[in-house]
């Protein structure tokens, strides 16, 4: 059997469609396949992923007597997309020492103020004291020593403990005191310094140490220090327990990294926007300057670093010099990101306002030629890189039942979003936008402080559930299910992601299921809705110009992304929905299918448009 193959190499997924051309010249789609893209899109390394996808497809049809007549490769949109994020508010960098964390069970409660000392070598009597208890001191010995000091008239008003033994120590004391435990880097706690230890009652957060004036009062600081106290207080808000140790004057240094400004050079004018004005303000400038010709970040600032990182990454990807990179689109979103607190001794993080940006650059050369040559060599078949990607996606999307021209297709993959409008006369207008699935994952990763792109990706893709008890799991939509067998210990009390097929995976973060869900949904709305609206505006689509908006690409494969767009566009009287390519593929395979349809049309010497189901 002679077959033709349509191949779409995306940033993260490679898709193929295999068809035979019937005697009447119509394509008869036989099978499709999918594999992870190998290497950077547009490099010969892609061949491995293409082979895997083709073999996976051929496997499904038995592979016998197959002769590959021709292969068509997407002429990938010549864009490279990348993203970065950083804080826009002041970054606290101090050499002061503070501990603000939520150990499960601190000891005692209240506030204790005194000078720090190592419990193994008590100082002379006379001062108010706070004991520093390293992990090498067993809790029984620590409690006995604290009681001995109490009997001897020492005034010890609190303790900082390395081990998770705060309650054990407190339970053995003659006089209760606030004890903060699980302090990993206790050896860094300075000795002989004035210190405050606060433990809140269960259900409450620390009060004095999360208030700048509270801190100023404890350490007898003046009005000039209130700004400094504000940074510490901000980092301690919401904690059940906290410690602040005042370091000697002069040892405190605070460096504020300015958020900086972003310069957007456009065809009409150039505008500079302070990043702390927020993502909306940046995006208004991106729209106002005309066609974006380049974007720069103020050197020595967070945004400067971000834009630099993106350009370096793009230069590497496209194998061109960094100075030749000209950013052609920028997409910015507001976010919150966890920043490690300098001077913290228990791995503290504080949530800072941040901005995430995705950028895109148009390259001069076509990437896919190298891939086509390598594929031809591999399969000994003619390979052609042809067809504008967005147009092919449109042809594929038109096989979705119920579609008709004029139609908009929005293809959101991992790296970028492409959108195209095809009118009844077959004319096509397309746009390529920065910001897609990877940006959503990055936002989830940052806002939940997960530290794993793969784990954030799972949160993006699958619904959540909470394992409430041995035999009961509660889904994020409120549904409950009873388990046949008791859940494994690793799942007990945990929030998990629940893929449709496959075991649940534990979400390793301290946030509640409800909070994780909100973060996930907000990230999707910001990126997907933001870019769909931008695309419609750039394509100049009014409700009369368009019979529908078809959503294709990996970002709409999940269980909710397309729903957000459907809802939002319904309010604008536009019908939008997930593509169902050839009635069987869902939002996948649009470009690969389009490549085959285009070949068949050329073969027939005619171009037809309309529902191709």
């Amino acid at each position: 059997m002679d077959v033709i193959i349509g191949i779409d190499v995306g940033n993260s997924t490679t898709e193929v469609a295999i068809a035979e051309i019937t005697r009447t010249g119509e394509p008869n789609f036989l099978v499709s396949g999918m594999a992870e893209t190998t290497g950077i899109k547009g490099t010969a390394e892609n061949v491995r992923g293409v082979k895997t996808a083709i073999f996976a497809a051929l496997e499904k049809m038995g592979r016998k007597g197959i002769v590959i007549q021709k292969m068509f490769l997407n002429n990938a949109t010549p864009v490279i997309a990348d993203f970065a994020m950083d804080t826009i508010t002041e970054t606290i960098v101090t050499d002061s020492t503070m501990i603000g964390h939520n150990p499960g069970t601190p000891g005692g409660h209240g506030i204790g103020i005194g000078y720090t000392f190592d419990l193994r070598s008590p100082p002379g009597n006379g001062k108010d004291l706070i004991a520093v208890i390293p992990g090498s001191v067993p809790f029984l010995d620590a409690a006995a020593e604290l009681n001995r000091l109490d009997d001897a008239g020492y005034r010890v008003y609190g303790a900082i403990v390395q081990n998770d033994e705060g309650t054990l120590i407190n339970n053995r004391l003659k006089r209760e005191m606030p004890i903060v435990d699980e302090v990993e880097q206790i050896e860094k706690a300075p000795l002989g310094m004035l210190c405050a230890v606060e433990v809140a009652a269960p259900g409450y957060g620390v009060e004095a140490l999360s208030d700048p004036y509270g801190i100023a009062g404890i350490f007898k600081l003046g009005v000039e220090d209130i700004g400094y106290c504000r940074h510490i207080a901000k980092a301690l808000i919401g904690n059940r327990s906290a410690v602040v140790i005042r370091t000697p004057e002069g040892a405190i240094s605070e460096r504020v990294i300015p958020a900086g400004s972003v310069g957007i050079a456009g065809s009409r004018f150039t505008e500079s926007v302070a990043v702390d004005a927020g993502a909306d303000r940046i995006m208004r400038a991106v729209e106002a300057v005309g066609r974006v010709e380049d974007v720069t970040g103020e050197p020595g600032t967070n945004i400067g670093g971000m834009i630099e990182r993106i350009k370096v990454g793009m230069a590497k990807q496209a194998d061109i010099k960094k100075d030749e990179i000209r950013i052609s689109d920028l997409f910015a979103v507001d976010t919150r990101t966890a920043v490690r607190v300098q001077g913290g001794l228990a791995g503290e993080h504080v949530m800072e306002s941040g901005v995430g940006v995705a950028a895109m650059v148009h390259a001069d050369h076509m990437f896919m030629d190298k891939v086509a040559a390598a594929l031809g060599e591999e399969f000994k078949a003619p390979v052609r890189a042809s067809g504008v990607e967005a147009e092919m996606a449109l042809l594929g999307a038109l096989t979705t039942p119920g579609t008709a021209l004029p139609l908009v297709v929005v293809d959101v993959g991992a790296g970028s979003a492409d959108a195209a409008l095809m009118k009844e006369d077959g004319s096509v207008k397309s746009v390529h936008l920065a910001g897609a699935g990877d940006l959503i994952t990055m936002l989830i990763d940052a806002e939940l402080n997960i530290g794993s792109f793969a784990a954030a990706e799972r949160i993006k893709r699958y619904p959540l559930a909470h394992v409430d008890s041995l035999y009961r799991i509660r889904y994020e939509n409120g549904e409950a299910r009873f388990l046949e067998d008791a859940c494994e210990p690793r799942y007990y009390g945990r929030t998990v992601t629940v893929p449709e097929n496959g075991p649940p995976e534990v979400v390793n973060c301290d946030f509640s299921m409800e909070k994780i869900r909100v973060v996930r949904q907000e990230a999707k709305k910001k990126v997907l809705l933001g870019n769909v609206f931008r695309a419609l505006e750039k394509l100049d689509v009014g409700k009369d110009d368009c019979k529908g908006v078809i959503l294709v690409g990996g970002s709409f494969l999940d269980f909710e992304g397309s729903r957000f767009v459907t809802q939002a566009l319904a309010e604008k009287k536009l019908s939008a929905g997930k593509g169902n390519i050839r009635s069987v593929e869902g939002p996948r395979n649009a470009v690969a299918t389009g490549l085959i349809l285009r070949y068949a049309e050329l073969l027939n010497g005619m171009v037809k448009h309309g529902n191709r189901t």
Partner: protein, 116 residues
Amino acid sequence: METEHERPTIPVGCAGTERTLDFAREVAYGIEEERCVSEIFVLSRAEDIRFGTLGVAVVVLPASGSLHIADLKDDTRYYTVESADPAQYRRLGKNTAKYVKNHHLDADFDGRVVMK
């Protein structure tokens, strides 16, 4: 308010040897650190588990310690620690208390924890 002594206790049964008593104490410390109350008793036979009002018990035998849950269908062991490291028994105690409090258990289920 309930006092410490009015809180329901988690029974920790052990074989009665010095070694199992030491490990049982570590389990009890783990339970105490989580602000729960435990009671150590000597088991005459491994099967003589008392679950108490919370429906859980810990059993410490010469080479292992297990969290038992009355609600489990057949074998009531939820998980077992096979170790001579006192820290593992402290963690078993903490996890037992966390189970009672409906908190997630210590995630570091490494090679020393044998799944049922």
